[in-house]
Structures are given as C-alpha cells and as structure tokens.
Subunit: 267 residues, 3 copies
C-alpha cells in the first residue's frame, strides 16, 4: 500500500449547478479527511448508464491500479437495484450495479465483488433518492481509509449487470456499426474498434458511409485534410471516428448516437 | 487543530469559461501553498444571492466543521456592501455580506463575525470589480494558514444581511409554497420542508398541485411510479420535490422558480 | 525547491462531458502520483488559440512562479507543429507551440525553451489525435517530479509562434480597438488597456462607442450606475470593459468578439 491514500475519482451525471456533487465531496472528506479527490466528469448524459460505462472504459486504464472510481449514474435509485464495490486488476469501483461496468467487464474480470448491504457504513438516515451521498460516498471513503472490501459488504450472489450494446455486423462487403457517442467537438465515436477496421481494410483503401452519405476515407489525423473536410480516423480510444477538420461532424452530417456507420473497400 | 490545513471550498457564479475562478485559485495557492481546494460549483445562477444561500445550506452540513467556505456571488462588488468572515459551529464562511448566509442563519447562530476592513491582508491594488480575487481569496488563505479571525477584521457592528424568502401559507385545507429551484434533472425543489408536509399529511393521502395542475401523490422514490409519470417526494434535502420519473418535471409542467405548489388532503 | 511538488494546472478546450481531460489526469497521476492538480478551465472556446493565450495571461501572474501550466488547445495536433516546454520567470508552460504564449511573451521573455522531441518520456503508442494525453501530460508529470527541462527536450531552434492580434489605433480624436472576449456575465473585454485609456483620457471625461452606439462613460464599478444601465470601466485585468450593471452587455448591444470599440473625449 502506498503511504498516501489512493486516489478517489468522482463521475456523475449530476451537473455542477446543483449541490449534489458537493454534498458527496463533503461526505467523503468528512469520513476520509485525507482523501485525494479527482473530478472526472459531472456532465455525463443524464441517466444514460451505457454512456457512463463507455466513459469509464476510456478513463480507468490511465489511472493507477489502486484508484477508487466512484461513479453514480443511477436512474434506479431507491429501487431494488444493488449497490456494489468491485475490485479489478486495473482499478476499483463503487456505485450502483446497473450496467456501469458493461464495457470494463469486456476487458477484464473482477477479482472480488461485494454487495453493499452493511448499513453501519452508511450515512443515516439514507435518502431514497440520493444513495450517491448516503451509501456510495461513505463506502468509498471507508475503502479509501483502508478498510477491506469484505468489511463493506458480502460476496455478491448474482453476476454484475451487463447492458445490451449495439451490434457490429460483418459481411464480405462491409463492416457496419453505429455512432455511440458525439464528443464536445462534434466528432462521431463509433462502436467499430481499430482491430476490426484494420482487419477489414487490410491492404485496401476504404470508404466510410455515415447514414446515407458516402464521403470519406480513413486518415491518420485531422490535419491530413483541409479545414472543413470530412474524414475518418482511428481515434485516441482506438475506435473509428468521423470528424470534420476544425469543424463539427455531427452537425455537418446531421448524425447522432445510433446513426449507422459502414466501412467498405474503396471502389 | 488538524495537522493538515483545513479544507477550503470555492463557490461562485463565475462560470468556468473565464479566468476569474482560476485567478482566485492562484491567489489562494500563492498565499497558502498547502491549501486543499475543493471546487463546489461555479455555475450558480448569475447574481442570484438567494440561490447561492440555498446551495450553501445544502452543502455545509456535509463538510467537516473547520472547513472554510469561500463563496462569491457578489452583484454589489465595489459598492458599500461589507465583506465578512464568519465562524459558525458547523463551518466557516468568507464572502460578501449580501444575504449569502440567509438560509444558514436559520439553522444556527454565528460564533463570531468580523468585517473585513484590514487592507494589509488584501491583494493590492484592489480592483473595484473583483473582490473575490483581491479581498476574499487572500483573507481566506490567511485564515487557512492559521491566522485568527480577529486578525482578519474587526467585530461586525451590524447584523448580517438576511434576504426575504417566499412565504409558506398554511390553512386547514392546504399548505401552499412555491418552487425555489429547478435542478439539473428538471426536478422542482420547493420551500415546503418535510416536517411541514408530514405534519399536514399525517394520516392522510395528499395531492400536490403545481401551478393549475393537480396530479400527483407523494411517493418514496422515483422508481415508485412508471417512467414518465409525475410524482412528488421528500427529496434528499428534506424538501418537497416534484419530479417525473426518468423525465423532466420543469418542462412537463412548464414550471419554474416561483411557480406555486400546494399540498391538499386527497379527495 | 519546495518540499511538496509544484502545482500543475490544466487548461483545455476539451469540455467536461467527454473523457479527454480525465484521461490526461490519469496519465499525470500515474506518472507523478504526488502531483497537485488544479483545474483552471476546460471550457475555453474550441480551437481558439488566441482566447487561450489571453486566458493564460490573466491567470499565470496569480500563481506561484514554479507552477507548471499544462495548456492544450491544439487544432493542429498530429501535424508538424512542435510541442514545447518553456520556463518563464513567472511560471512554466507545457503544450503545443501554436501561439498559446502570444500574450505571455508580451510581458516577459522565456528563460529556457525546449522542443519536446524525446519520445522516451511519452505514452506509447502516441495517438495522432491526442498529444495532450500521450505527450504533454507525461512530460508535465516528469517535470513535476523534478526532472530538468533539458532532459525533456532539446533547445528550440526557432522562436515561439506569435499570433497576430487586433490592432489599437490612436489618433488625436479617438482611441480605437475591439472586443476580444465576452465573459460569462456578458461583459465585453477589449484590447484597450488601462494605461492607454488613462493616458488618452487624462483630464477629460470620455465617451465609449461600441459598434455604432455611443452611450457610456467610464465609471469605477458596476454599482456606480443604476441596474440595467450601460457603463465602461477598467476591469480586473486592467482592460477597458463595457458592461450593463446586473445585465448582459453583449446581448444589450448585440456585440461580440471583433466589435469595434472607440474612446473619445466627451463632447
């Protein structure tokens, strides 16, 4: 164990106008005064669990392995959904078991999963609408202080929730997926990963079709095409992205999450 | 006193596009290099002092008692309004005396209030438009370093400013208040607190009327009703809230701050 | 050198919805676990290098001199533009050499400039689209850990990039500049600095003309005029600003970046 406490990251869909995130920070720092908080994002799409799962997939590998990732995107708060704490080889997770780990579980298997059922760790009384503050924050703080995972809950009896993901379809003529996220710059992030595309495109030029418009080739970086021109590239998360150099592809193409994207060998 | 310096939180309506918040951080960290800054929100409604007061009420109780809360929502900057530093049992405050403590003062009385009138602590020259950077930040930093409150100013001669708040009206037939905030999810937060509502509703089912529409019962959590259905509940701040499960109540009801909300016994 | 590591600030145009900023934080904290990160802004205008340069000018002087400022507004990522690390008397910079230092270089000369050409410090493989994560973050982390500037790269052979800036024109009758930024409150920040204006206005009342509308005098603070009234003042960054007290000057005047602003002696 390191001398200083592990990092504790915060990821929510709470926005930053309201006091929800701050209340969680207060609870954590009251229970673990030495915690080193790191804000990841509080602007995730509201109540979109799959988007949060994708976010975690992209971020977790960059952090130290003992980091605790507290993630609360929790449309089912107060219902029967479980809270869990999970230890993976590359990081630790605290949050609702509602599919937030869907992408992470594709990459590695958990070492240990506990169901959060030990109310002695919780902030009382527990609100029915804000387990982020009353359950997940104090549990993460206790873990951060050095308590063991099996003190925080008991071994989970059921597997973690996995959400269905949009399919990738491969034929001899084409590889078809869809847009799964639109970033701040309007880049369209797809569910086609680099290894799929490279395999398909081996030795070929390829065209990428977005919606009904066929109009770009795969390049290496934005600056490979003139300003305002459409291109495809393998983005920094190893996914096929559709971009406009110094522009906004989502607006240009009127595309959004769910828009089909198809890769075909050039003419 | 703890070995590490107390936490120092930052709450403003400055937004995060401009450099104002960052300049305050720089000044604090230049004067108190070991300060442990915690961003609460910089997205409070511009120049809305009462909204900031409500925000502090919700956040302060979650933090350690020695935390310094630096809050700058300051439409009167450069005028005759005072700057103050205040010690409460549950936290410490630095900022303008313009009503930011309205809600906090309902909960507890200050132990000590000083008026910030000792320019030797300030960043010179003091801008007429940015006391957050030039007065409040260096004063908070000095307090954080361990200077005493009575070094930072002299005992305040006048009481702290209290802002008028919307009234709650109670009759035999109904309890009437209004929406005082709309959160990130579109939930309508009212000025009806749990103890009011519970007392009124003791032994009764109740209906909640928002604006002219009467259409929801009080439930325990969002998931108690189907997606898209309106409900009322006691939110995590112990206030009556109007919500749409997995929806946006403010848009659904065309309601906003000031919209009347009325609780009545069910038919 | 201080006992604790220097502060490391983060400034980007990445927004906070996506995982880009978080990935940079993860890389820095993996390479320099004791780094003390300070978020400045991630909401800078997308791909607007000059706006980011102005932001740095306003913020850097408030921070300790050994602070490392990591700034990534990088429309040319993956092209031939250099990455640099620069030591100034008042701070240290890591980022692309694309004009981000334009304003800073007006104030002081660098002590040392290196070109980032030592891949052993970088995260491999280096993405063509995200040098913030793969080049600048690990280099800043290494600098933060105490490595010397000349380990991180070799002495730069060419001068740092300077971007053209809008001109200030002075005649006997008028001083003319333009709006260079609109802040969160709608205040119009101009390229007319205090010393210019004071000199011009010495002993005179002056009028400020924005676009085609002539209608305000220079005052000392917002509260000097009634709510809703237009005024000019020397803002906290020592620039002439056009404001509406408790209002939004940009909307009121239909003004934006590039709108001409002219100062004339009062009739």
């Amino acid at each position: 164990m390191s001398i200083s406490p592990p990092l504790l990251t915060l990821t929510t869909d709470f926005g930053t106008q309201d006091s929800y995130v701050s209340q969680m920070k207060g609870v954590i720092l009251s229970h673990a005064p030495q915690a080193r908080l790191v804000d990841l994002s509080h602007e995730l799409p509201p109540q979109n669990v799959l988007a949060a799962s994708l976010f975690l997939e992209q971020v977790v590998p960059t952090f130290p392995n003992d980091t605790i990732h507290l993630c609360v995107v929790d449309p089912g708060v107060g219902s029967q959904r479980r809270g869990v704490a999970v230890e993976f080889p590359s990081g630790r997770f605290v949050g609702p078991d509602n599919g937030l780990l869907t992408h992470w579980l594709e990459r590695e298997q958990p070492l240990n999963v506990v169901e959060l059922n030990q109310p002695q760790w919780w902030r009382q009384p527990v609100s029915r609408t804000f387990h982020g503050r009353d359950v997940f924050a104090p549990v993460a703080a206790a873990w951060c202080r050095g308590h063991k995972l099996d003190e925080l809950g008991t071994a989970a009896q059921n597997p973690l929730v996995l959400l269905p993901q949009p399919a990738v379809v491969r034929t001899d003529e084409a590889l078809t997926g869809e847009v799964i996220a639109v970033d701040h710059y309007g880049n369209l992030i797809t569910n086609l990963v680099a290894t799929d595309v490279e395999h398909f495109a081996a030795g070929h030029h390829v065209f990428v079709e977005v919606g009904r418009q066929t109009n770009c080739k795969i390049h290496a970086c934005y600056a490979d095409v003139p300003n305002g021109q459409l291109l495809a590239l393998i983005g920094s998360s190893q996914r096929l992205e559709i971009s406009v150099n110094c522009g906004h592809a989502a607006q240009t193409l009127n595309a959004t999450t769910g828009t089909p994207v198809c890769v075909k060998p050039a003419g």
